[in-house]
Amino acid sequence: MNELIRLLAYMLGLAAFLGLNLAYLGWVERKGAGHIQRRTGPKDVGPYGLLQPLADGLKLMSKQLLIPANADRPLYMCAPILIMVPAVLLFVAIPFGEHLVPREFNFGLIMMFAFASVGGLSILIGGWGSGNKYSLIAGTRAVSQNVAYEIPMLITAINIVMITGSMDLNEIVRQQGSYFWQWNVFRLDKSILMPVSFLVFFICSLAETNRTPFDLGECEGELVAGYHTEYGGMGFGLFMMAEYANLVIGCSLTTILFLGGWQCPFGLFPGPHWFLIKMYFLIWCFVWIRWTYPRTTFWGLLNLSWKYLIPFSLVNLLLTALFIKVF
């Protein structure tokens, strides 16, 4: 009984955290975009435009759901749900604090990557199901991009697994010390290329979440709106929310693997607040990057992955293996 109440409370808390994040990251992004371009961003709906996400949500929900005539109906209908489910599900393995983790299990990292791939698949389903050539092109692009960037990401993750000897996310955090030089980014005793490894992982998570400069799946200039061109109302809203959920997950994973999760950089009061600070800092970096760089070409995107990220992560893998064996 006690366990049930705990479970319900946690689920409620997680849903609230997720909902608020999905709504307000949009606000953060628009504010950030505005100020970077020396505008103000949303400011009229509520103080500092804080009620803007609510207004947007209401507007999206009040829209009629139209299904295009030559859409593949079941696929079209299930794609937004399919993209949202793994995005929400992945929060099950994220350790927010030492004891604030929904389900601590051995294969947290594997589970993360497994479900993250479903996200790419649902983008393809959405693109295919829309019965629109732009959506289809966008879907295939997104998938080839996801595949290309999953490789260096996984290799980098293997580094961490080799260092910690565990795939349990909480264990990975626990093994990184409570001072910032003990975090995986700066653990030069394990491999001198660790900061590069962090960079590779960061770039890959940018690409995996389909964000600028790698947002080839939804480049407005060429493909209308990419794989969600044909979606209106809350269907589009779900795609949008899933993008932000993936953003939160990507940043959480980077925080856990490289930045010491809930550990404090100076050994003081470790806890969920440190996790959140690091995560939101990374999210801010994502927003910052999005409004700084133009979109890459598809050639540039794949070139970066195959010619730079994969060799570097492979070299890093070898170095790590060597360091572990020698020292």
């Binding site: 950030g32 505005g34 100020h35 970077i36 371009q37 020396r38 505008r39 103000t40 400011k43 910052w288 990057i289 409004w291 700084t292 760089y293 730079y308």
Partner: protein, 195 residues
């Protein structure tokens, strides 16, 4: 291989430079004008709809109702209404109607205006749901509190009255005075033609 490494280094450097620029812009104040809350200060040469200019000496417009603007308007947007008043030199403008719905802001009227009575306004906040709102009486817009009566020159009034009397007598001699008003008007216009 050296090109490869060089690419990475220059690439990363340029990325950092880009981030620095956006960060700097992020920290500076927004330069956008919050339009409905603030409004733009228009430049004097902005071409809004035309308006009657206020003469600083007389405190009213300089229009002599010659109608050159009306004639010059390619879209026929201007109607100048005037009348002769007793004791006032020249005609008196009673209404200057601009149909802004057909105006193309070409400025022919302003070019044609000899006494420089009309000019472009700086008005740009024009929005309405009704067409009638764009038929402006520029005289009303110049004097929203009420159009001031033109000054009556007593000497001129005297002269005019004398002329009128003379015309009346002449008219009476020719015909019987059936209607007074048309006779008066006719007299006035005649008087004006002479002057």
């Amino acid at each position: 291989m050296s090109g490869y490494i060089k690419d990475i280094i220059t690439g990363l450097k340029s990325l950092v430079v880009g981030l620095q620029i956006t960060n700097k812009e992020f920290l500076t104040k927004p330069i956008t004008l919050q339009y409905p809350h603030q409004s733009v200060k228009m430049y004097p040469r902005y071409r809004g709809h035309i308006e009657l200019l206020k003469d600083t000496e007389t405190g009213t417009h300089r229009c002599i109702t010659c109608g050159m603007c009306e004639k010059g308007c390619p879209s026929g947007s201007i109607t100048v209404k005037s009348e002769k008043r007793p004791g006032v030199k020249g005609k008196v403008l009673t209404a200057y109607i601009l149909n802004f719905t057909t105006c193309s802001l070409c400025g022919q009227c302003v070019e044609n205006c000899k006494p420089e009575a009309i000019g472009f306004s700086n008005e740009y906040n024009l929005a309405s749901t009704r067409r009638e709102d764009y038929i402006f009486d520029l005289l009303q817009r110049l004097h929203p509190e009420g159009v001031p009566e033109p000054e009556v020159d007593p000497e001129l009034l005297k002269k005019e009255l004398e002329k009128k009397e003379a015309a009346k007598k002449e008219g009476a001699a020719k015909k019987e005075p059936a209607k007074k008003a048309p006779a008066k008007e006719g007299g006035a216009s005649k008087a004006e033609e002479k002057s």
